[in-house]
């Protein structure tokens, strides 16, 4: 598959603080890009491709052309650039675009930066911008991404006889992990009762089952491994990456508790990396809603279908568990600036594999990130390994 004999290495990884930021999207992009270039320690003139992952800068702040803006603001002229939009999975798709460019030989040094600026809009407005990804037969009924989560969570709990508390365990775990992440939107632990008593947002889901609306940006610098050996003594390698797409109309899926695109993207990434699910040491999953962590952990093959909830309750996915999930705090605690999230997931993999994750450090040499767009509509899965 690879035209180039080299594997694709990550030599730079950085992210801004996620949260309620005063900076606009272009400023966030620049902040993460500069931090990424500094982390890589490479001459910026070597960057020949730039991919900006962003879902909706036009809708949120009336700013199109953000990839071109970044290239100019960071003096990366005349690198090729493109904006990558795959809704909430824009970040993962940006990583995929950067990987393709380097793997194919089209690029020698690809900068991938994801960002979104959202908090200047009301929650209802931001929800509607995100809901604009839905099909007209969904949008006309006021169906939002949180309501898809409520519908799916009810079906899951009903089918697998799972207690409502199991979802709360995901929120508690990820908030606890986020306490140790200085870039997280929330660095605050919550207890089970607080989650269970929080206001209903999309029955049976409550406030703490949802990620916050956040601003932020994250970046990666990708090069062939042969270049990485010359310029870096702490690079990691993308050993597998895959994408998949499910129905645009969510109710047309025969099983609402199965994320077909997650399964497809996972299978493709595993095949490229020549890895099995059991060989993954830790994972960053797209917990935009707590229920999504169960579904992904099952459809990626970590647990049997219908068993993800029990693993969460038993502590298997905790920082000290057999398979830590979302050591960064996940979208739930870290925040979800749409275009940034998929990139930030990989930034966390890099930090963990380098042994630079501080108090949230986990053991292992194989990390997996799963970035989900829409309600499982489009997915990118990336496997990153230490050298």
């Amino acid at each position: 598959m690879l035209l180039r004999m080299d594997r694709v290495a990550i030599i730079g990884a950085a992210m801004t603080r996620f949260g309620d930021r005063s900076a606009w999207v272009a400023e966030l992009l620049t902040e993460a890009a500069e931090a990424t270039i500094a982390d890589a320690g490479i001459d910026r003139r070597r960057i020949d491709h730039v991919y900006v992952a962003n879902m909706a800068s036009g809708e949120f702040e009336g700013h199109a052309g953000v990839a071109n803006r970044l290239v100019h603001d960071c003096q990366l002229i005349d690198a090729y650039c493109a904006r990558i939009d795959q809704t909430s999975a824009s970040g993962g798709a940006g990583v995929y675009a950067g990987w393709q460019a380097v793997a194919s030989g089209a690029a020698e040094c690809a900068l991938v930066v994801g960002a979104e600026k959202m908090t200047h809009r009301t929650t209802a407005e931001a929800t509607d911008v995100i809901a604009s990804l839905t099909h007209p037969v969904e949008y006309q009924h006021g169906v939002t991404l949180p309501s898809f989560a409520g519908l799916t969570a009810r079906a899951y709990l009903h089918r697998y006889d799972a207690p409502r508390e199991s979802l709360a365990h995901v929120a508690v775990k990820n908030h606890r992990n986020g306490v140790e992440n200085p870039h997280a939107h929330f660095q605050k632990a919550v207890d089970l009762q607080t989650v269970m008593d929080s206001p209903v947002i999309a029955d049976p889901l409550r406030l703490y089952d949802f990620c916050p609306i956040s601003d932020g940006s994250a970046g990666l610098l990708l090069v062939p491994e042969s270049v990485a050996r010359e310029v870096s003594d702490r690079y990691v390698v993308i050993t597998g990456i895959g994408g998949g797409t499910d129905t645009h109309v969510v109710h047309e899926r025969p099983d609402p508790t199965r994320m077909g695109a997650v399964a497809a993207a996972g299978e493709r990434a595993y095949a490229m990396a020549d890895r099995e699910p059991a060989e993954v040491d830790f994972a960053e999953l797209h917990d935009m809603f707590t229920i999504l962590e169960f579904l992904q952990s099952e459809d990626l093959g970590f647990f049997e279908k219908g068993a993800g909830w029990r693993a969460a309750m038993d502590g298997e996915t905790a920082l000290s568990g057999a398979l830590p999930i979302n050591p960064s705090g996940g979208l739930k605690s870290k925040g979800h600036p749409l275009g940034a999230s998929g990139v930030a997931q990989v930034v966390e993999l890099v930090a963990q594999l380098r042994g630079e994750a501080g108090a949230r450090q986990v053991e292992g040499a194989v990390g997996l990130a799963c970035n989900v767009g829409g309600f499982g509509n489009c997915v990118t899965t990336t496997i990153v390994e230490a050298v």
């Binding site: 037969v137 006309q140 079906a155």
Partner: protein, 124 residues
């Protein structure tokens, strides 16, 4: 289903679905319609959204309903015209109604219809 009689698409291979897509599962365009005007479906799951987007009623009771028709089932998502609903309840489609305020929605009314059908519970 822009206010007219509710219907699913039927494709040449006998499969059915809602909404109609330009190309069906068999790789060709729909060959006909299956009226759902008199159909009774079963609630597969539901939610009550308390944080709807602009122009949508609050709370917004939503359900995914399965209609058992030849070549089906046909599933639909939509608002429920009731105070409460449960998995397994039987519903039909009510008369056309404005589902959200087009002036408040991000997507302009010139792009899509805001008139559709809510699910109405029926007694077996």
């Amino acid at each position: 289903m822009a206010g007219e009689e509710p219907a699913a698409a039927r494709y040449a291979d006998g499969s059915v679905g809602y909404p109609a897509h330009p190309i069906g599962p068999d790789g060709v365009a729909a060959t006909g319609e299956v009226s759902l005007a008199e159909a009774v479906g079963t609630v597969e799951t539901w939610t009550r959204s308390t944080a709807p987007p602009p122009g949508v009623r609050a709370p917004n009771l939503l359900a995914i309903v399965s209609f058992d028709v030849t070549g089906g089932p046909v599933r639909m998502i939509g608002q429920v015209d009731a105070e409460a609903i449960a998995i397994g309840d039987r519903v039909r489609l009510g008369p056309p109604t404005e589902l959200r305020d087009p002036a408040a929605a991000l997507r302009p009314a010139t792009v899509q219809s805001y008139t559709g059908h809510r699910f109405v519970p029926v007694e077996d």
